[in-house]
């Protein structure tokens, strides 16, 4: 198994599948494409698990420390002997963990889609896109080179654009896919500039060498990059913050989150894949990948990560309380949970017990992937059932959809942090890390965790309780292929908290023993319980209490339900300020000066063309004349004038 071919096969299988289905799918595999896609991913998943087993238990550890292993490396473009873009595979604890998460969740989504997307006319295209996305995501996490990660990063962006805009007949889907693409593209620009800054000073693009050169205190590269400064910040801070901006764009951190709620226009299984477990955590993954540099050389940049994460976590949780579209609630809850992961990285130190935040963040990434994709798939199955995204069209579904109901409840308990479900364990680690390093963050995290419990159970009651089922004519809960993923993921939403991530995935590769005292858990768990009780009181049976409260809350509720007017602010900034202050003058300039110049250029090009058409007279004697003229001017220019 240590054979690199097997590891390389993990991303290559989905790629092959994409090519096969993309090129021939519609003609030859219009019905079997789902099976083909699922099978190939099944093999990838098995290989991922085998790789993880191999890495964690056999090859990964040297002297008790997990190593970065380069499985293979191919020099793709060489600029200079020591600066090249490589294509390679790098295995380290986070890569291997992500490998398992991504391939497994993707497999679940593949299976779920067999039932969910059945009967779509572009069924094969859908699976081709899913495979492309899975390939890009797997490629991203396996990258051994920062430029390679950027390539896959963009590929992930493109394939998510394709998937979000899958229902391209719907104008809102097209707009959403465009929004997601453009917003993340802006962030990616930051990422690219960050890469260039880091690579320029470290003289390498390779992750291992880059991290070593920029995190060892005595390194000469570090001295230079710290000494160079721009607008009062060192080049290192600029580089890291720009890279983080790239990550924040993909991970929907405030204020670059505006694309995420709209992206819910895509098919629901796609949201479960992209917006729960894979693409949105790419930003967390990126910060974790460069964590040694952040933690050892530039704690200032890490603070930026921390505050952005904490604010996003809280902010999104508030908005989530007010949304009525169930997928949007989940979208904001994702943003909030990723905020958790980000600030957990932010409060962490590099080594030993103080590296708890890093471990907690990765742990939460791991558990969150399962229960959040479960929530999305459950939501998908509900939407499949009632053909609507709005809470008001739902209610009382618990009897009609027992499996969805139970699994959704499990996921809600997990995300709310109720023991012994998975979310409890990872959240405790994060809270502990925050408690030990920054009390303010700890308080914000506590409040957020109470809010999380509240809005999740608001969602749960609105879907499954609240009133009697209004849907009469139904077609069953869904196919068996839709139920199996729900059950499997529900098992993981319970059990994945017991995985001892602490001994596998840490910043410095050494296992840490985390001991969260039971007394510590009392506060967060009781806050979560209060949130749940409140939601039960308000939403379990239909009454007018929520409306009354929201009326009393007045402006605040409106502000939150309008997502704090962030979209409007963007519109204001873009439409009013950019358009009037910059756009209009620019348009005037464009119309009169640039267009004028262009017209002038076009006209004069045409004129010059007319004129020099004379050169191309078709007469050889003229050609000879110009030939000689050329020689004469060269001689005059270079022998008489120049010397």
């Amino acid at each position: 198994m240590s054979n690199p071919i097997f590891i390389a096969l993990i991303p290559i299988l989905p790629l092959t599948c994409f090519l096969l289905l993309g090129l021939f799918g519609r003609k030859h595999f219009s019905t079997t494409s789902g099976i083909i896609g699922t099978l190939s991913l099944f093999i990838s998943t098995i290989l991922s698990f085998a790789t993880a087993y191999q890495y964690f238990f056999q090859t990964g550890k040297i002297n008790g420390v997990y190593q970065k292993i380069i499985v293979f490396k191919y020099t793709w473009l060489e600029f200079a002997p020591n600066l090249s873009i490589d294509m390679g595979i790098l295995l380290d604890p986070i890569t291997v963990m992500m490998l398992v998460v991504v391939s497994f969740v993707s497999l679940m989504v593949h299976v779920f889609s067999l039932g969910y997307m059945k009967g779509e006319t572009r069924f094969a295209t859908y699976y081709a896109f899913l495979s492309l996305f899975t390939f890009s995501m797997l490629g991203l996490i396996l990258s051994s080179n920062i430029f390679q990660i950027y390539l896959f990063w963009e590929l992930v962006g493109v394939s998510s654009f394709l998937l979000i805009g899958f229902y391209f007949e719907k104008p809102s889907a097209v707009a959403a896919s465009k929004k997601a693409f453009i917003v993340t593209r802006f962030a990616d620009l930051g990422f690219l500039i960050g890469i260039l800054i880091l690579a320029f000073y470290a003289h390498t693009l390779d992750f291992g060498i880059l991290i070593e050169r920029l995190s060892v205190i005595s390194s000469p590269y570090l001295t230079v990059i710290n000494a160079a400064s721009f607008l009062g910040m060192s080049a290192l801070s600029w580089g890291l913050i720009l890279v983080f901006i790239g990550g924040a764009g993909k991970s929907a951190m405030f204020p670059l989150h505006i694309w995420l709620p709209d992206a819910m226009e895509g098919p629901t299984p796609v949201s479960a894949l992209i917006h729960a477990a894979t693409m949105v955590v790419a930003g967390v993954f990126l910060v974790a990948r460069l964590f040694p540099i952040f933690a050892l050389s530039d704690p200032g940049a890490l603070q930026v990560v921390m505050y952005t994460g904490a604010f996003s976590a809280f902010f999104a949780a508030v908005i989530a309380c007010t949304q009525t579209d169930i997928k949007r609630v989940l979208a904001y809850s994702t943003m909030s949970q990723i905020g958790y992961m980000m600030f957990a990285l932010g409060v962490s130190k590099y080594s030993g017990e103080e590296g708890l935040g890093y471990m907690g963040s990765m742990f939460h990434l791991f558990t969150h992937a399962f229960f959040k994709s479960l929530l999305f798939l459950g939501a998908g199955s509900v939407i499949h059932f009632v053909h609507s995204n709005e809470m008001k069209d739902m209610g009382g579904l618990r009897k009609l959809m027992p499996i969805t109901h139970i699994s959704f409840l499990i996921a809600c308990l997990a995300i709310a942090g109720i023991p012994p479900f998975a979310g409890f364990f990872s959240k405790e680690e994060i809270l502990m890390a925050a408690f030990e390093s920054n009390r303010l963050i700890y308080v914000v995290a506590l409040i957020t965790s109470g809010l999380t419990a509240f809005y999740m159970f608001r969602l749960y009651y609105s879907i499954f309780w609240s009133k009697d089922a209004s849907v009469k004519n139904h077609h069953g809960e869904g196919t068996i292929s839709m139920k199996i993923p729900l059950i499997l993921l529900a098992i993981l939403a319970i059990g994945s908290g017991l995985v001892p991530i602490a001994s596998f995935v840490t910043a410095d590769g050494l296992p840490i023993t985390s001991h969260v005292p039971i007394s510590f858990s009392i506060v967060p768990v009781s806050l979560a319980l209060i949130g749940i009780l409140l939601a039960t009181r308000l939403f379990k049976n239909s009454n007018d209490l929520p409306v009354r409260i929201s009326q009393q809350m007045g402006g605040l509720y409106t502000a939150a339900s309008r997502k704090f007017y962030i979209d409007e602010v963007y519109l204001f900034v873009t439409k009013k300020i950019l358009f009037n202050l910059i756009g209009k003058p620019a348009a005037w300039f464009d119309k009169h000066i640039v267009d004028g110049l262009m017209n002038l250029l076009a006209n004069s090009t045409a004129k010059v063309s007319e004129l020099i058409k004379g050169f191309q007279s078709g007469k050889v004697q003229d050609y000879a004349l110009y030939f000689f003229g050329g020689i004469a001017s060269l001689i005059i220019l270079f022998i008489y004038l120049w010397q």
């Binding site: 030939f627 060269l634 270079f638």
Partner: protein
């Protein structure tokens, strides 16, 4: 001793053998069918191509008048590949042609001339090779025997070539007068950069510039390219140009290296003018062959930029680019030849709606145009990228920026053609053309070349490792 002559001149012997074989078939009693002959000849050319990779040795012959290095052998292999591809794409045109054998005899004679030219270590051999590679070309340009334009192209080519050869010879004689030798090595030892020598250099430069269509010595190009049969145009614009660029580069880098500061500026001016005029003219063409003629003029401007690097990277980037240019241009010409042989249509407006009827050919043409324009991820992008990198080493950023801007301008006219193929509606598009096996093979080789050459970095590294200053 004899062995040495056999092995060192291996490539030349094979060509000569094929020429004589074809000659015997021509004068022999039996009338062969065109199809049979074409398949036979293509197999011979494939053999010739493969033999080029076998038993390659370096050495000198005739007191250094002829020399062979691994780099030169690689260049010959590239030319062999080009000739093989041209021969494949010429199939639909030659299938009905009465003088098929003469075509190949003339074609291979020019190839022989090119081989001697790029292996030359002496101005005399160089000149002989140059003429041998030019005069039969004029006859080839005339090979659409019933078309007036074709004869016109031939006349223009032969007269212009004669003129440029005269100028070149004038330069050579001045050079001989000032240095007392014709050997490249001896000359390079006696060049000091006095005015007479610079004038001689300019005259020789003009001769070269004529062959590779540098403005203002390019005027014959468009007329000849338009009038000549499409495969001959392909040959002229790719093989002939590539061969001259090979020897041009080595002459510039070895013989005239002591006056490098002077020629650097001349190349700078010529390159700027060439890119500009090439782009300006390409914008307004409607005949596809003429369009490719002007676009290839602009391409040469970029090559001059890479060549100005005067470094190993300069050599490697130029050869690498020429390899990619060969694939891209021959792919485009493959489609054009086929369409003009079957449907007799050559203008861009004829190609409107081409995608509806001929999707495969459309994709080949589009990818070729993308590669010529330098759009990633086609190999053309990497080719141009390395050229610009090589040029940038000298620190002349005006030139680099100018080239980059013009690269973007050139996107416009390349994409105009692509737009015509894919998007413009047309009531009467070119009918669906069935693609014969041989041209299809050529197109597939070219497609592979255009896509893979960029990704397999060892190709560039291999060329780099052979390059010597």
């Amino acid at each position: 001793m004899l062995n040495e002559y056999l092995i060192l001149l291996k490539s030349e012997w094979i060509i000569i053998a094929i020429i004589f074989l074809l000659l015997f078939i021509k004068v022999g009693p039996k009338d062969w069918k065109n199809e049979t002959l074409l398949y036979g000849i293509n197999i011979l050319l494939l053999f010739n191509l493969l033999a080029g990779f076998y038993n390659n040795v370096e050495g000198n012959l005739f007191n250094g008048m002829y020399h062979s290095t691994q780099l030169i052998l690689l260049e010959k292999n590239i030319l062999n590949l080009g000739v093989y591809l041209v021969s494949l794409i010429a199939y639909p045109w030659l299938k009905e042609h009465k003088h098929l054998l003469e075509f190949y005899i003339l074609l291979l004679s020019t190839l022989l001339g090119m081989f001697f030219m790029i292996s030359s270590g002496n101005l005399l051999i160089f000149y002989l090779g140059l003429e041998l590679s030019t005069i039969p070309l004029a006859a080839l340009a005339n090979f659409d025997l019933h078309k007036r334009q074709s004869s016109e192209a031939a006349m223009k080519l032969i007269i212009s070539s004669a003129f440029s050869s005269a100028i070149l010879l004038f330069g050579v004689s001045i050079l001989y007068g000032t240095t007392g030798s014709l050997s490249f090595y001896e000359i390079s030892q006696h060049i000091y950069g006095n005015q007479l020598q610079v004038i001689a250099f300019i005259l020789i430069l003009a001769g070269f510039c004529f062959k590779i269509s540098v403005v203002p010595f390019h005027l014959w190009t468009a007329d000849v390219y338009e009038g000549a049969p499409a495969p001959v145009t392909a040959y002229l614009s790719v093989i002939s140009k590539t061969a001259v660029l090979f020897i041009f580069m080595s002459v510039m880098y070895t013989v005239f290296k002591t006056i490098a500061t002077q020629w650097y500026l001349m190349i700078f001016v010529l390159s700027i003018v060439t890119i500009l005029i090439g782009n300006l003219f390409a914008l307004r063409q409607n005949n596809l062959k003429r369009f490719l003629a002007f676009s290839s003029i602009a391409q040469v401007g970029f090559i001059l930029l890479g060549l100005s690097g005067t470094s190993i990277m300069g050599i490697a980037s130029v050869i690498y680019f020429l390899l990619i240019y060969l694939f891209s241009n021959l792919a485009a010409f493959g489609v054009i030849t086929l369409v003009s042989a079957v449907a007799n249509k050559e203008t861009i407006s004829d190609y409107k709606g081409f995608y509806k009827t001929n999707p495969f050919l459309s994709w080949v043409l589009a990818i070729a145009l993308f590669s010529l324009a330098g759009v990633p991820p086609t190999a053309g992008f990497f080719g141009k990228f390395f050229l610009i990198m090589a040029g940038a080493e000298r620190g002349n950023y005006i030139w680099v920026v100018f080239a980059a801007i013009n690269m973007i301008i050139s996107f416009y006219y390349y994409l105009k053609v692509v737009k015509a193929i894919f998007m413009d509606p047309n009531d009467q598009p070119i009918e669906t053309i069935s693609i014969p096996a041989l041209p299809k093979l050529a197109m597939i080789i070219c497609l592979a070349g255009m896509i893979l050459t960029g990704f397999f970095s060892w190709i560039y590294e291999y060329i780099y490792s052979l390059s010597i200053l």
